[in-house]
């Protein structure tokens, strides 16, 4: 079965991103296809290259990146949500004159059309938030 996930909260302040990651891991370990993980609203912080983990807490941006590389999962950060929150690639950093890029390798900035496509292509889409 083909799944996509919609992830909407920051990994450092709400549990739902961690739940999404664990669900995603179990999906691929169970042999299902994870087509796309779409980071929306505060969920774009899951695509940060600049987060620093100081304690035993999981480094979710790194974990998502590793999952995507190992299982060819498409990670997309909603460009509208990302720009507002300063999750930007080199192109956007240059366009807006910002001092640094912050988007993690392995994740693309794109529009809501990618989520729409995920809804069309997937058998199941789960929303993670709150």
């Amino acid at each position: 079965m083909i799944f996509s996930l919609l992830v909407q909260e920051s990994p450092s302040s709400r549990q739902s991103s961690y739940s999404a990651y664990r669900f995603a891991r179990e999906l691929v370990d169970s042999g299902h296809e994870l087509f796309r993980v779409f980071f929306f609203r505060d969920g774009v912080h899951n695509a940060s290259a600049l987060n620093c983990v100081t304690g035993p807490e999981p480094d979710l941006p790194r974990l998502w990146q590793e999952l995507a590389e190992a299982h060819r999962v498409d990670l997309v950060a909603c460009v509208g949500s990302a720009l507002r929150r300063g999750i930007i690639d080199a192109g956007e950093a240059a366009r807006y004159g910002r001092p640094a890029a912050s988007l993690r390798t392995g994740c693309d900035l794109s529009g809501l059309g990618q989520l729409v496509e995920a809804c069309i292509r997937s058998d199941r889409v789960l929303s993670f938030g709150g």
Binding site: R41, G80, S81, V116, C119, I120
Partner: protein, 113 residues
């Protein structure tokens, strides 16, 4: 699309509207279902400072143009908040509990924002 949050205090309603319009623009049969505080998005006379926000009611008025099939509001939520049918835009459909259940059953996917 299911939204339950109040407008303006968080960006959820605005983001839900953007997503509903994207789905509609890509010709998906999409309805926006408002429960709990999200029904307050339908109140008339919204007048946010232009420097802060567009009127979400005005934005929702464009949903049909973007191909969103329906804006649905939970009757129970409206009643709890003292909203009458006459307060609402004309093209909003008010649903009772049985109709809510039927609406969920009728859609292949439900996204929650």
């Amino acid at each position: 699309m299911l939204c339950r949050s109040a407008p303006y205090g968080s960006s959820r309603v605005r983001d839900a509207l953007d997503l509903a319009m994207a789905l509609g623009a890509f010709e998906q049969a999409v309805s926006l279902l408002l429960m709990d505080d999200a029904v307050l998005m339908l109140l008339p006379d919204q007048d946010p400072s232009p420097a802060v926000s567009k009127s979400l009611l005005k934005v929702s008025g464009a949903l049909e143009t973007f191909g969103v099939s329906a804006v649905l509001a939970d009757a129970d939520a409206l009643a709890k908040r003292g909203l009458a049918a006459t307060d609402l835009p004309e093209d909003v459909t008010v649903l009772g509990t049985a109709e809510l259940a039927e609406t969920f059953a009728r859609h292949r996917l439900v996204l929650s924002v």
